[in-house]
């Protein structure tokens, strides 16, 4: 039997969660204050994942950058591949929250979507 101490990241409360493992299987989760904590702890010891957020450049928008996120969490070891895949991406305004920026983030099967609205510059503003 072994235990792992985790800090739940399901919400900003950051509960201290203790996971008990037996032969690699989770036998108990303690310290969490909501069901999300239980789910997070089980996943974190077997298959850790993260939502990744970053930015991409916008052409013809009222601001220079929009921000993007993975539509759902991806394996923790794919974080850098995911950011790398976004490095040279340029999108054209207007950008609306939810627009698909990349359909498949670094082979994870998860889309990267816009997380910020950027209006297009009017013709007058462009000049």
């Amino acid at each position: 039997m072994s235990t792992r101490e985790l800090t739940c990241i399901g919400c900003p409360l950051g509960c201290a969660v203790t996971v008990t493992l037996e032969n690699g299987d989770v036998t108990a989760v303690a310290g969490n204050t909501c069901p999300r904590g239980d789910a997070y702890a089980r996943k974190e010891v077997t298959n850790p994942t993260r939502i990744v957020t970053s930015t991409v450049r916008v052409k013809g928008g009222v601001v220079a950058m929009t921000n993007v996120k993975t539509a759902s969490d991806i394996p923790k070891d794919k974080i850098f591949d995911c950011v790398e895949a976004l490095r040279d991406v340029v999108v054209t305004a207007p950008v609306t929250i939810g627009d698909v920026i990349l359909p498949d983030a670094a082979g994870t099967g998860v889309a990267i979507v816009a997380a910020r609205n950027v209006a297009a510059l009017s013709e007058a503003q462009q000049q």
Partner: protein
């Protein structure tokens, strides 16, 4: 002179939620004044996720959270002015503002909500020795440069202070290809949320050195190296513990200070602990009809709590506009003692307050297995066990109007930290 029932100073999360709530409480004449080029405030540069779990039951990025409230403001047709700076608020609630289109103008308001937010403690306020080269930024400035303007402030980074923005920027700079060498924290505990330490430092193997501070900055044109040293219990550097890190950038994440120049010039009483206005149960300052909410009142951890607080301020300002100031009501002071640094609100009026009033506060140290105890005069009213409390995480007590009505002769409320069960 223009006239509005309600002027809201600041179009960030607090100002937006206050405006929506005031409108829904029946006030139509509302103006939000925002100094930046868009509504949303600091949320626009906070591109990480985790916002809104309490409010929307999902994890949003900062701009997504802001857009939910901006949409609500738009749907209600609430007026706002961008790129507009409020210069002065008078005790009579005359607001003086200026922008490039209108020049300087004055607005006569029946009520004002202060929602100006906070700003970061600067190098000058920290008294860090050494040269004054380029490459020293507050973490928030770096955040704006990277996330909104698309510039990288540097490649090799040392961060002083483990506030949340510093932790978030440690991850962000790392993802954008920088090497974050160390995060030094003066205190023996982090000022940031635990999950940020997990996700922003531990995930990337960035060391956090508690009880350490910067003792030297080298470089004439650009930062070339930073020396950190361990500090003792007196928070003074211990000779012989110095470590030198070559770097081109030093980020500072050493605390946030509510931005209350306007409040002070209006004559609003300021609590020296929070650096924010002293308010009563309706979040009204010492000047009737001037309310405060969000980080200008006290620095929050969670934007959800800012939105809740601002929503109350909007509703209360609407009641003030419609009904005027209530007749003299009995006021009871909340005394924060034994580890409780302050409370917001500081004063409550049992006859005027909501049925349940959330009192928020911070503790002054790390407490383990302690209780939050509430007393009405000498009578213990509630005792709530907390496995761990830290200055970086806001705590709360809920006061019940019904319970207060059982104590008609109440002279003071005390909230304290007590050991044991």
């Amino acid at each position: 002179m223009k006239q509005y029932d309600l002027v809201i100073v600041g179009g960030g999360p607090a100002g937006l939620a206050a405006a929506v709530s005031a409108k829904d409480s029946g006030i139509d004449s509302i103006l939000i004044i925002e100094r930046d080029r868009e509504l949303g405030g600091i949320l626009n540069q906070c591109i990480h996720n985790g916002f809104g779990l309490h409010t929307f039951k999902e994890e949003l990025t900062g701009p997504e959270y802001a857009s939910r409230f901006i949409d609500q403001v738009m749907e209600r047709g609430i007026a706002y002015k961008l790129n507009t700076m409020v210069m002065d608020i008078s005790p009579e609630k005359k607001v003086t503002a200026m922008n490039r289109e209108d020049g300087m103008f004055e607005i006569d308001a029946k009520a004002v909500i202060l929602a100006m937010g906070c700003r970061e403690r600067s190098r000058g306020a920290l008294n860090i020795p050494g040269y004054r080269p380029a490459g020293i930024y507050s973490a928030g400035t770096a955040q704006r440069l990277v996330n909104m303007e698309g510039y990288m402030p540097g490649r090799e980074v040392v961060i002083l202070g483990s506030g949340d923005i510093g932790l978030i920027m440690a991850r962000r700079m790392t993802l954008e290809g920088a090497k974050v060498k160390v995060v030094a924290e003066l205190m023996p505990y982090s000022g940031g949320l635990k999950r940020n330490i997990v996700q922003c430092l531990d995930d990337f193997g960035i060391p956090l050195k508690l009880s350490h501070t910067v003792v030297d900055i080298e470089g004439k044109e650009r930062v070339e190296a930073v020396t950190i040293a361990e500090v003792g219990a007196d928070r003074r550097p211990i000779p012989g513990t110095e470590e030198r890190y070559t770097c081109d950038t030093l980020l500072l994440s050493c605390g946030l200070i509510p931005e209350n120049e306007l409040s002070k010039s209006a004559g609003v009483s300021i609590n020296p602990i929070t650096s924010g206005p002293v308010v009563n149960d309706s979040l009204e300052t010492s000047i009737p009809g001037i309310f405060a909410c969000g980080n200008v009142l006290h620095v929050h951890d969670l934007v959800d709590y800012v939105s809740q607080e601002a929503s109350s301020a909007g509703k209360n300002a609407a009641a003030y506009i419609k009904n005027g100031a209530p007749a003299d009501a009995k006021t009871v002071e909340i005394h924060p003692v034994d580890g409780v640094r302050y409370t917001v609100p500081k004063y409550i009026r049992p006859s005027e307050m909501d049925d349940n009033l959330t009192v928020r506060f911070r503790v002054g140290d790390v407490y383990k297995n302690c209780c939050i105890a509430t007393y009405f005069d000498d009578a213990l009213i509630s005792r709530r066990k907390r496995p761990v409390m830290a200055p970086g995480e806001m705590e709360q007590v809920i006061l019940s109007k019904a319970k207060l009505s059982e104590y008609p002769d109440l002279s003071k409320i005390t909230i304290r930290i007590e050991e044991g069960e």
